[in-house]
């Protein structure tokens, strides 16, 4: 736990630092305002993140050091892949949905994932893949009348 705290704190601090130094001053907007300048609240939020995350990181670093644990422990390759593939799967389908309507892609999206998750009974895969897409079709084309999305 302390290791996770240490690393998440470090990442959040880095993010907050980037926000404070670069993103907010560049993209935060400007202009004279009476009272609250446009960047004020965002900067306050970023400082809050920085202070809290840095403190968290520091406290857990001390804890790690006292317990004599190393702060670095690389996850195994297979574990990493196990974490990563769902994101890639969804991202791939987002690219597909950009080209074709979701209603047509949906059975593939659901069905393929079902099969990947180890479902082999076709009489289960088929309805689970098709019924939601059908529902979306009825909702968009008939109830909301916005056309097939």
């Amino acid at each position: 736990m302390a290791r996770m705290d240490f690393w998440s704190g470090a990442v959040v601090s880095a993010l907050a630092l980037a926000l404070i130094i670069w993103v907010i001053p560049t993209y935060g907007g400007g202009g004279a305002a009476f009272g609250l300048p446009p960047q004020l609240l965002a900067s306050l939020g970023a400082w809050l993140m920085l202070i809290c995350a840095a403190a968290l990181s520091l406290v857990s670093a001390v804890k790690l050091w006292r317990a004599g644990e190393s702060p670095i422990q690389l996850p195994s390759g297979s574990h990493l892949w196990h974490m990563l593939w769902p994101f890639l799967y969804v991202l791939g389908f987002i690219f597909l949905v950009d080209r074709f309507p979701l209603t047509w892609i949906a059975p593939l999206l659901i069905g393929a994932l079902l099969v990947i998750l180890g479902e082999r009974r076709w009489y289960l895969v088929l309805p689970v893949a098709v019924v939601p897409a059908l529902g979306l079709y009825v909702l968009t084309a008939h109830l909301m009348r916005i056309g097939v999305v």
Binding site: F34, I146, G147
Partner: protein, 322 residues
Amino acid sequence: MYLKRLSTAIVATAMAVGVAQADDFPSQPLTLVVGFGAGGSTDIQARVLANVLEEELGQPVNVVNQPGAGGGVALSRLAVNDDEGYTFVFGTSMTITYGPLSTETNYQLDDFRYVAGVTLGQSAMVTGEDRPFGDTWEGLIEYAKENPGTSYATQTALDRMIIEYIAQQEGLDLRIVPTSGGAGMAPLILSGDVDFAYSGGTHSGYADSGEMPVLLSLAEDRLVAFPDAPSIQEAGYDINPAEIRVVMVPQNTPDGHVERLAEALEVATQDERFIEITEERILMPVVYMDEDEVTQTLSDQVTGYRALLEELGGVPGEDDED
């Protein structure tokens, strides 16, 4: 000379093609784009309009929401669309008249054709009950001259510019408070924290109770529900901020398609359902303004706004107190 003749020829050909196509337009489903989220007043109106148009045009009319940037997202997509009138935007004129002046946009007034105006906006300057200046515009101006720091709640970049212009004309020192939408403005006015405010249409809901008197109509004429308040022109300011709800198509849409849509819209403005949803639920008058009239009005407005901005010395918001 040659160039002019050529362009006339092109226009003539285009018109001929347009007329030829008009016979079978529309031959496939149409898309009505709303630049605001589902459930807002534009959206509610658009869905009824789509139903009526569908019967009139004989093709399905789908409503699609493309929310963002006060209707601007829908317009910037429409500007690069070329499916000849099958996709059109139903929106408010402020997005196209003042939008390009106040923010950077990838569209301009002449990127679109304005098929027809179907509803008149009812925006106004409003105040609350029992104010020291009563409920007249002159009363307010008198009061504000004597009381520097009189407060005004703004909702849009346009009304901010108008009030800054008025303040300059009358020599007022106002505290201009930002707020979001009618739901943000109403509590400020009703609780008495702000002296007067811009209102897009919220005041219509308080017409019966009298809790939100109108000081000044920001439409071309006096408001339907508040005939006693003068219009902004009557009050002596040379601005026409009248808001019109219009149907827009890209500039390159064939004439025949625009005419067919305009016909259908004219019928829609006489349809019971459209009149009911607009006049009774949203409380705005239904009109029919043809393409020439709308285009003229809008381009006059843009010219007027531009002149006003120059007089104020640039970007709105710059001359706030500090």
